[in-house]
């Protein structure tokens, strides 16, 4: 017999309520409940529906962290309701918890959202193996464990949308593919059976509001219930663009490469030189702010730049350790 003791805590839930076909505005309903240390967030959603209000709506299915249906936000944090322990949420946020849909502006009924934008982005990256398959194969297409490891567990994604609706860029720019779609793109790019390599990457690269608009905030890595670490996959896709020779010259690619040139020259950055390298003639738009910064002593002229000490070591390392070309 387990000696584990079940404890109970009082929690006040503020729950987002909205019915798009009836309500003009959403509202929040309060539920004071005793929560036991055994429960996950989904248990609480179930109890609200079963014990308090049968009309309360949310998505649920497998309750095993596989189907990805039950992702919601608790105090603004995306979370998979069937996996997240209530005790951890209480420890994180205290005894006042707000339950909301992943995206308030996409709410349809209570915690249910229209996830159409998520699936559109998902479709746009061709989320399937593209391969010229021999109609009469003579043997299986074997994948070695090492080759499988290249996916870096991107295949664990359950499309719950937790990262997509935690991404600040998705919130602002509706054309942005979002972390889940990019992680999925990586999953197929890294698969040795896939032949679409160039095509898919080219597509990602050409999309104006695509791959290079990630703000590097790590919100996606933090919320993912399956530890897919989407931002790591976005970085890997950036590296692939250079490696496959697909990267073309634009502000973002020049910016990445410009760091190497600046480091090779000075060790520490030449900030002005970097912006000039990245922007080219586009630097003109930065002149008004730059002038103000110059007046305030925030811009060091090229001849007065400090260089790192032992710069020869840095130059040597840049030469010997560079692995990418542009």
């Amino acid at each position: 017999m387990s000696t584990h003791k079940i404890t109970t805590q009082k929690v006040n839930f503020k729950v987002f309520r909205f019915n798009a076909s009836e309500d003009y505005l959403p509202y929040y309903e309060d539920y004071n409940m005793d929560v036991t240390s055994e429960e996950v967030v989904l248990d609480v959603l179930n109890r609200i529906k079963w014990d308090h209000d049968g009309s309360f709506s949310y998505r649920r299915s497998c309750r095993h962290g596989i189907c990805g249906a039950c992702a919601i936000k608790v105090n603004g944090r995306s979370t998979l309701a069937c996996k997240e322990r209530m005790n951890d949420m209480i420890e994180l946020f205290g005894n006042e918890l707000t339950l909301e849909p992943l995206s308030i502006k996409r709410a349809v009924k209570d915690l249910i959202i229209d996830k159409g934008d998520f699936w559109e982005k998902h479709d746009a990256i061709h989320p399937y193996l593209i391969s010229d398959v021999d109609e009469h194969p003579e043997h299986e297409h074997l994948v070695t464990p090492e080759e499988a490891e290249r996916l870096l567990e991107a295949d664990l994604c359950i499309q719950c949308g937790a990262c997509h609706y935690a991404c600040p860029v998705v919130e602002i720019n509706e054309d942005f593919f979002g972390p889940a779609a990019f992680a999925k793109a990586y999953r197929f790019e890294a698969d040795i059976r896939d032949d679409a390599l160039d095509k898919r990457l080219l597509h990602l690269h050409e999309e104006k509001q695509g791959l290079w608009d990630c703000v590097k905030c790590f919100e996606c890595a933090e919320v993912c219930p399956k530890d897919v670490n989407p931002i790591d996959k976005i970085t890997k896709l950036h590296q692939m663009l250079f490696k496959e020779g697909i990267a073309t010259s634009n502000v973002a690619t020049r910016h990445a490469v410009g760091f190497k040139h600046s480091i090779a020259r000075n060790g520490i950055l030449d900030e002005g030189g970097l912006v000039l390298y990245s922007e080219g003639l586009g630097i003109v738009k930065h002149v008004p702010v730059a002038l103000k910064m110059f007046v305030k002593g925030k811009i060091v002229p090229p001849w007065a730049l400090t260089k790192s000490k032992n710069l020869d070591e840095i130059k040597k390392l840049v030469k010997s350790s560079s692995t990418a070309k542009f």
Binding site: R77, V215, V289
Partner: protein, 293 residues
């Protein structure tokens, strides 16, 4: 008590576009009795952009920076969130990814250095809280900032990914409910403002390639602080500072609302409370005038 001594990785920004941060770091360290050995040999950390181009080169360069801190036998202190991220991430990977340390050390050997993994890497904010303590700081305050509502702006790379937090300092910060900067504001006698954007992104890293996205994020941050009745903002990151201090025009246009607040580096706030002079703190280097004192 033994005098605290750290190896300081200034990063590039403090040497160029935020000179006030460089000055105030040393001014505050002196007041707190901390000795800082500046790592003048250090190169840029790659700022998460070199990492998009050449992962291995960025690892080697960051390992070299850390090796210099190890040579001094000191903890490396960073004053930029992105330097903290890239340096701590390098350490994390060299210490955990099979065979990586050996590969990187083969390169460092060419210049007579070696990465051992003996130095901790910690942002100045957390070094102060861990090694000096908020109670001690409170005792040292000579000019309490009690008349000010101060909005903390944490900056992404100090709080996410949280696994790096767990490795670098004693009481890991919760990225959804961070408290360190709020606690420091209170220790300085100020009132900390709670607002939704305090742990959100400022947009700095896409300022060149996605200026609209960057400006909206900056605008939302300042607007959130203003709506929380903040008198000014404070941040531990010079990159966030650049966005919030110098890009107010673009931010205002992007969100359709005039936004502007003085923004202090965390060192400047601490310096004010500890009695450093305005000259020492470089308050005249701001674009958004520091007009409250």
């Amino acid at each position: 008590m033994k005098k605290l001594k750290y190896a300081l990785f200034t990063g590039c920004t403090a040497k160029q576009s935020t000179p006030e941060q460089y000055m105030s770091t040393f001014a505050v360290a002196e007041k707190l009795g901390i000795e800082l050995i500046e790592l003048v040999e250090a190169s840029c950390c790659g700022a998460s952009h070199l990492q998009d181009y050449d992962d291995f080169l960025s690892l080697v360069l960051n390992a070299r920076n850390i090796a210099y801190a190890e040579k001094h036998g000191l903890t490396m202190v960073t004053i930029c969130n992105t330097c903290q991220l890239n340096t701590a991430m390098t350490k994390h990977r060299l210490d955990n990814e099979h065979g990586l340390k050996e590969k990187v050390n083969a390169k460092l050997k060419e210049i007579g250095l070696e990465y051992k993994g003996t130095s901790n890497i910690i942002h100045f904010l957390y070094a102060i809280i861990d090694d000096i303590g908020l109670d001690k700081i409170k005792e040292m305050v000579v000019t309490p900032l009690s008349q000010f509502n101060i909005a903390p702006f944490y900056g992404c790379h100090n709080i996410r990914p949280s696994e790096l937090q767990n490795e670098s300092h004693k009481k890991a910060e919760n990225p959804y409910n961070p408290t360190s900067l709020d606690d420091l504001i209170k220790a300085c006698g100020g009132v900390s403002v709670d607002y939704k954007e305090k742990n959100k992104c400022c947009g700095f890293h896409v300022e060149l390639q996605a200026p609209r996205t960057a400006s909206i994020l900056t605008g939302n941050a300042i607007a959130g602080a203003m709506d929380g009745n903040a008198d000014w903002m404070v941040t531990p990151c010079p990159l966030c500072h650049l966005k919030l201090d110098t890009q107010t025009h673009h931010a205002s246009v992007a969100i359709g609302r005039e936004v502007k607040l003085p923004v202090l580096h965390m060192q400047q706030m601490l310096g004010l409370a500890l009695g450093c002079s305005h000259e020492q703190l470089g308050l005249k280097h701001h674009l958004t005038k520091v007009d409250f004192i």
